[in-house]
């Protein structure tokens, strides 16, 4: 007969890290290289980019030709396993909430497929309340994080250019790739409207330097979302942090380990974590001198809220009652069209790096606008690898434009239709805004009092709504996009018919997958869960190093700051351990 038992490890690690994405990977890397013994728990599967390969595959290597599945919502070749919908791991929503929660379930997490857009925050981004009175200031400033941004730039590798922009600071950039054809057209069109277009800043090695070690330079296949198995030229936690750190011999990885709660002792200090191993569905406990959560903003707050004890009746690190609150994602809105001047274009390989070669940092002053925070613009287009969906909707295109000077009836078939596919290929163009939302106390995730997942862990219930600030920002995005499209003579094919009825095309929160704010840092222990070192105010050996610790998330993608803060917190842990404070 099966007996229920909890398998307790007698080993005490220096640190138990929950989650292996940007935050957890960096913590593991720094601590293991300092000689600490680490147990790294990952809720998803083991993954080795050197063996689990989708890079340089052809569309026909996928029976669904790259279409998405539940397991790979970004397509069959995408390197992120799982996403919106995980079997046996539900979450719930309050009435009226449209929240989508992305959960990568693999070693390295989302960093295996992310866009590599690596924007450091600027001085204003840490002090927004002082500027516009909304939200809160961070307990730290740009000067505190700058040294870590600098080191990460050099260590990991990022291309870009120093532009001397106040709130988009310079860094240590490798040379960027030249703009593609449509990007040159976008640059001219956007510049006409006063929108600044500069080389993008992506964590991809374009020029190998000594400190990059065995990693190589980009070979321009445009497939960073498949993870760079071949050259390790782009940043993923798996390729760049975890596998190199494993060489220290100081890390034990437990994959498929779904963490239930952080364990604490009578003094209220963390002693380790309990988890269920998905492979055998048995319960385990692992001990550590410190516990570091990096399970993603929402999952980390879920673990804390579920870690109730007599010393921490409201959940761990939650005397302030802020855990789960101030949840915010980037805003997002997009528009697409076609560039008639690119019809029947000359063919050449323009894969480039995986993603945009140019972007637009926020270029306006919010004091003169009816919304408080900015956004940046990402662009796409060109002759990309055909995949499922290629050619769809030709009947909406080939009747609208002359094909080689000939007026055709929409739709059709045969040799004439084949000519149309060739004629229109590579003429697409699009753009998307990614903006800063205002973190609000009433935008939150909490423990659902009625629902557990298949492991018996109480699940999260989301209550998130956009405010007029974000909606007005989306409206501004759409107006800007229309203008840029118009300037370059593009014909808008989608995303232009938005209005107040659909919040001007503003994506529902969660969709941009930049969640942050749920275990925020601050100087006031009544209004924040963590201090400025990502350390819990009321549990000194507990740290949270993912996006949860953010006070606000800027109009920048948050990964570079997660990495910088995790490095900073990890070095603080080492120094506190040396002082016997931990």
């Amino acid at each position: 007969m099966d007996t229920f038992e909890v398998k307790k490890s007698s080993k005490v690690y220096d640190a138990v890290i929950v989650g292996s994405g940007a935050g957890g990977g960096m913590a593991a890397y720094v601590l293991a290289n300092a000689g600490l013994k680490i147990c790294l728990l990952e809720a998803g599967a083991m993954y080795d980019p050197q063996k689990n390969i989708t890079q340089l595959k052809n569309p026909w290597d996928s029976p669904r030709r790259g279409a998405s599945t539940k397991f790979r919502p970004f397509g069959d070749f995408d390197a992120c396993y799982y996403g919106w919908d995980i079997d046996g791991e539900p979450y719930t929503k309050s009435e009226g909430t449209k929240w989508d929660w992305w959960r990568a379930r693999m070693l390295g997490g989302r960093t295996n497929h992310w866009g590599r857009i690596s924007l450091r925050f600027g001085p204003h981004d840490f002090k927004r309340k002082s500027i516009d009175g909304l939200g809160d200031d961070w307990p730290i400033g740009y000067e505190d994080v700058k040294p870590f941004y600098d080191r990460i730039d050099k260590m990991i590798g990022i291309f870009g250019t120093n532009e001397g922009l106040v709130n988009d600071p310079d860094g240590y950039f490798l040379p960027p790739p030249k703009p593609r054809l449509h990007e040159l057209m976008i640059k001219n069109a956007a510049t006409q409207s006063g929108v600044n277009v500069i080389p993008s800043r992506l964590s991809i090695i374009t020029k190998k330097e000594e400190q990059h070690g065995e990693r190589g330079a980009c070979f321009y296949c445009g497939q960073c979302n498949r993870n760079c198995s071949i050259a390790k030229a782009d940043f993923s936690s798996s390729n760049v942090l975890i596998y190199p750190a494993l060489k220290t011999g100081n890390i034990d990885i437990v994959a498929n380990a779904m963490v239930r709660e952080v364990l604490t002792n009578k003094e209220g200090l963390a002693t380790g974590v309990s988890y269920i191993l998905k492979d055998d569905m048995k319960e385990y406990q692992v001990n550590g001198r410190v516990v570091i959560l990096a399970a993603s903003a929402c999952e980390s707050s879920r673990i804390l809220l579920n870690s109730k004890s007599t010393r921490h009746p409201n959940g761990l690190a939650n005397e302030s009652n802020v855990v789960g609150k101030y949840l915010h994602d980037s805003t997002g809105a997009a528009m697409g069209g076609i560039l008639p001047q690119l019809f029947d274009r000359k063919r050449y390989n323009e894969d480039g790096v995986g993603g945009l070669h140019v972007y637009s940092p926020w270029w306006l002053d919010n004091k003169k606008l009816n919304f408080p925070r900015g956004y940046h613009i990402e662009y796409w287009g060109g002759m990309s690898q055909p995949a499922y969906g290629f050619g769809f909707g030709m009947e909406n295109l080939n009747g609208k434009f002359l094909v080689k000077g000939e007026k055709k009836e929409a739709g059709g078939y045969g040799k004439s239709l084949k000519e149309d596919y060739r004629y229109f290929y590579g003429a697409g163009v699009g753009m998307a805004g990614r903006g800063e939302a205002i973190p609000r106390e009433d935008n939150l995730c909490e423990i659902d009092s009625n629902v557990v997942d298949k492991y018996g862990i109480p699940v999260l219930k989301f209550n998130v709504k956009w405010s007029d600030y974000e909606i007005q920002q989306a409206k501004h995005m759409k107006e800007t996009f229309k203008e840029i499209m118009h300037n370059m003579g593009a014909v808008v094919t989608w995303g232009a018919n938005d209005g107040p009825e659909n919040d001007y095309g503003l994506e529902s929160p969660g969709k941009i997958i930049h969640e942050a704010g749920t275990v925020r840092m601050g100087n006031d222990s009544k209004k924040s869960a963590l201090n400025k070192w990502n350390q819990a105010h009321n549990c000194k050996n507990l740290f949270v190093v993912d996006g949860a610790s953010f006070v606000s998330q800027a109009d920048k993608n948050i990964t570079w700051t997660i990495l910088a803060l995790s490095m900073r917190a990890s070095e603080y842990i080492i120094s506190e351990m040396k002082k016997n404070n931990l």
């Binding site: 026909w60 070749f77 054809l181 057209m185 321009y220 990885i253 437990v254 690898q385 929409a410 078939y413």
Partner: protein
């Protein structure tokens, strides 16, 4: 390998096991098991679903498959540049994709039957038994959404779907990729837009770009 030595992975790697199975193209010892054709990374649950899909009985009848093949070749026939849809195995792709995406099942099956009924009414035989001329006559009534008669609208929807799936199935094969002229998916050095293309569009790189961007010697 050094890395293997230092790896202390407590749990069996499900990703790795997936890759091992997927990588075993030569192991045909088990002739009964449907051959997995994956040379790309498949995780455990994912591979289970792939195997389940491949083991599923055919969704379309032989008659329906014949109809699909004829339609696919009407949509994408061979021309001076490339082969036909059936040469690119588009019907096989459609047979798979309706299993993978069940939302296509009813529109496809129902659309095929709708088409047959039109042919029976008009020519007293099913689509496949019609002459090529009759087949094209019917197709002409549903292939052009703007000028199709209102009573043919369901057929237009079906043909739009058939056109979409045929085109996607075709241009994602080796034949189709070559036809469309996609040149990428191969290691290279991106050196910017070719000069003749820049001048075609009257564009040029700025001095700043030329100075700052990565430059490769042209061999």
């Amino acid at each position: 390998m050094d890395r293997r030595k230092s790896l202390k992975i407590i749990v069996t790697s499900v990703f790795a096991s997936g890759a091992v199975v997927a990588g075993c193209n030569t192991s045909d010892k088990n002739a009964k098991t449907p051959k997995t054709k994956f040379n790309l990374d498949r995780a455990k649950e994912e591979l289970e679903r792939e195997k389940k899909l491949l083991a599923e009985p055919d969704f379309f009848t032989a008659h329906e498959m014949t109809t699909i093949s004829i339609l696919a070749d009407i949509i994408i026939p061979a021309d001076e540049i490339s082969g036909s849809a059936s040469e690119a195995k588009v019907p096989e792709f459609i047979a798979f994709i309706v299993k993978d995406m069940p939302s296509h099942q009813v529109p496809m099956k129902g659309g095929l039957r709708w088409l047959d009924m039109q042919c029976v009414k008009k020519f007293e035989k099913s689509f496949v038994d019609c002459s090529q001329k009759q087949q094209l006559e019917i197709v002409d009534t549903i292939a052009f959404p703007k000028k199709a008669k209102p009573e043919m609208s369901q057929g237009v929807s079906f043909f739009n779907l058939m056109r979409d799936l045929t085109a996607t199935g075709f241009y994602t094969t080796q034949i189709g990729v070559k036809d469309i002229g996609y040149k990428g998916n191969t290691p290279n050095q991106w050196n910017g837009v070719p000069n003749e293309v820049l001048s075609q569009y009257n564009l040029s790189y700025s001095e700043k770009e030329l100075k700052e961007c990565i430059n490769f010697e042209i061999k």
